[in-house]
Structures are given as C-alpha cells and as structure tokens.
C-alpha cells in the first residue's frame, strides 16, 4: 500500500496529535512513535514537522506543555511533555465529527462509502 505523506496529512495533523494525546501524555518523539504505530507504518512525516503543529496546539490552549523535571535515566537536554486539555478534548471531538462528515460526503461522491 502506498505511504501517506506530509502533503496529504497537513490539514489533519493537529487533530491527529490531539487524538494521539488522548491516549496519555507524551513527549515529541513519543507522539511520533504513536502516530507511526497507529498508521501501521504508512504515515510518513518528517520528525521536525510535528513540532510546529504541537506549538500551535499549545498556543491555542488545546494542549498543555511542561518541561520534564526528571531525566529518567537519560542524559542531555530536557524534553517537553504534552497533555490534552479540556479545550483540546472538545476540539478533538469536533475534529472527529468533521472528519466523519468529510468521509461520508466524499465517499458518496466517489461511490466508495466507508
């Protein structure tokens, strides 16, 4: 099956991150791992492209970010841990409803209902 790359995902990246964080708090790399796992290896995003989406979510108050206080047996720079806020939960619910409508409408047009 063909991989889904950044261009196709761009409009949905923020909802994907929100959905990802619904599973629990995570740092940047963990978000990436979860996305790859959930996409069965077919979701292709460059590592760096996720951060601007996360920053926008933080700015909108949909995701909360805190600097890691414990290094957890790791050396080097601190990581930021992200978690979903109540506003983010609402945005995620709206994003899911929007996606369902999108699939329903386009599925009808293309004659390929999900």
């Amino acid at each position: 099956m063909e991989a889904i790359n950044g261009d196709k995902l761009r409009g949905h990246l923020e909802t994907m991150v929100l959905s990802n964080l619904e599973q629990g708090e995570a740092h940047g790399l963990e978000i990436l791992r979860r996305l790859e796992e959930a996409g069965c290896g077919l979701v292709r995003l460059t590592d760096g492209s996720r951060y601007p989406a996360v920053y926008r979510l933080v700015l909108a108050g949909e995701v909360k970010a805190v600097w890691e206080s414990e290094p957890h047996g790791r050396r080097g720079p601190r990581r930021r841990i992200y978690c979903l806020t109540a506003k983010g939960q609402r945005k995620l619910a709206a994003g899911r409803a929007e996606w369902q409508q999108f699939v329903r409408v386009l599925g009808g047009i293309l004659g390929a209902s999900a």
Partner: protein
C-alpha cells in the same frame, strides 16, 4: 555520543531555528526541545546502524528539510511574540551589532525614557502651579538626569563588554583586564557625579565631599557587572550563536 556528533545534531537544529523570526526565549525553548528530539533519534539510529556518521545522516534525513521546517516553525510563532521581539530589539543583547552600537542604542533608549519621566514630572508640577520651580538652579541636576543616565548606561554597557571580553573573550581570560574594568566601573558613578557637582557648584572641594561617601558603595558596581556578564553570557547562548550552519 562523541563531541562531533553532538555538534552535528546542534547544527541540524540550528539550521532550522536560527532563521525563525521569534524572541530569544521562544527560540531557546525550540532549540532545547528539538535537540532533545534529535538526540533521542540519533541514539536510536546509532544503536541500529552502529555507526555515528551514518546515524547522524539518518537523523538529518528523518528530521526533514531545514527550510521547510523553518517555515512551519515560523507559522507557529504567535503574533504577541512581536512584543517580546520589540523589547529585545530595544534593549536586548546584540547578536550582530558591535558593542559600541549596542551601547549607543541602550543609552538612547534609557535617556529617552528618563526624558519622558522628567517631562511628566514637570507637567504634573506645572498643573499644580509649581512649574516655575523647574526654572531654579536646584532643579538643574533633575533636568540633566536623562543625559547623565544615558551617559552612565553607555559607559556601563561598554564596561560590560570589556568585562565579557576579559572573562570570556577569544584571547582567553585576562585577570589584569578584568581588574582594570572593575576599577573603572567602581569609579564611574562617583566620577560622573563629581563632574555634575563641579559643573553646578564650580567648587572642587565641595564636589569632592559630595562624592567621597559614594566610593565604598561603588564596590557593588563591579560585582553587579560580573553577575550581569555571567547572566548575559551564558555558555549555551554563545555555543548556539557560534555554530557554523552553512
């Protein structure tokens, strides 16, 4: 991870972050987080490939094109950040301008603010019907305050630059130079005050008596200078700025 790999990772991050137009604090956070990310990816690739240069190349590939990521990061910078940037441009530590330009900029800003404060004070007293008080000789020091403040800030900035060069300059640490700068910073306020007193009173002895009590407290100025140099010149900042990203 060896030192050259760490530098390589920092270059990957810096290529993306340096062109972003954002406040220093925002960019510092971006750098720290992205460095944590590429370090983790590098460790992962290093364990898989067993070769650090290959792992570095793979990390770069996974991280993405710097120009594209810069654009995405730029789009994530909120509009309110321009307030921080404005403040930084006004009084912040220079990244590319000379120490002299920085000193002139700071002196102008402080002088202008002092001028506004004096203006407000005159206006308030004028509204109370006491404006004529500002025409007396006793008020001349207050009227000269913006100039004196600007001058002190200019000297302080140049001294701070001198102390920074003495402690962290490319020629290595020079205690003699640091001592000379400390001595100069110790006498700068008493000397300026002496000059102002002399101009007003035209009496050397009285001016000296006005200034002498200041000397013991002046010792605090070099201490403050060294503290400021350490704060401004955090190693991390120098390190990122000196990375060759081209």
């Amino acid at each position: 991870m060896n030192e050259s790999s760490l530098t390589g990772l920092k270059i990957i991050v810096e290529r993306t972050v340096r062109p972003v137009c954002a406040s220093t604090s925002r960019k510092r956070k971006m750098r720290e987080e992205l460095l944590a990310h590429v370090s983790a990816v590098f460790e992962e690739e290093s364990a898989r490939l067993g070769d650090e240069p290959a792992a570095l190349a793979r990390t770069q590939q996974r991280f993405g094109q710097a120009a594209e990521l810069t654009g995405l990061l730029q789009a994530s910078v909120p509009r309110v950040d321009c307030i921080d940037r404005f403040a930084e441009n006004l009084v912040g530590y220079p990244s590319r301008e000379s120490a002299l330009q920085w000193a002139v900029r700071l002196a102008t800003v402080v002088g202008a603010f002092s001028f506004v404060f004096v203006g407000i004070a005159i206006l308030i007293q004028g509204l109370r019907g006491q404006g004529s008080e500002w025409l007396t000789v006793a008020r001349i020091p207050s009227l000269l305050a913006p100039v004196a403040m600007g001058f002190l800030v200019f000297c302080g900035t140049m001294l701070m630059h001198g102390m920074r060069q003495a402690l962290f300059g490319p020629a290595g640490r020079s205690w003699l130079r640091a001592g000379l700068v400390a001595a100069a910073s110790w006498i700068i306020i008493p000397l300026t005050t002496f000059g102002m007193c002399l101009a007003l009173l035209a009496d050397v002895q009285t001016s000296l008596w006005n200034v002498l009590p200041m000397l013991p407290y002046g010792v605090l100025v070099p201490v403050a200078l060294v503290v400021m140099v350490y704060v401004v010149d955090s190693e991390c900042r120098q390190e990122w700025a000196s990375l060759q990203i081209d």
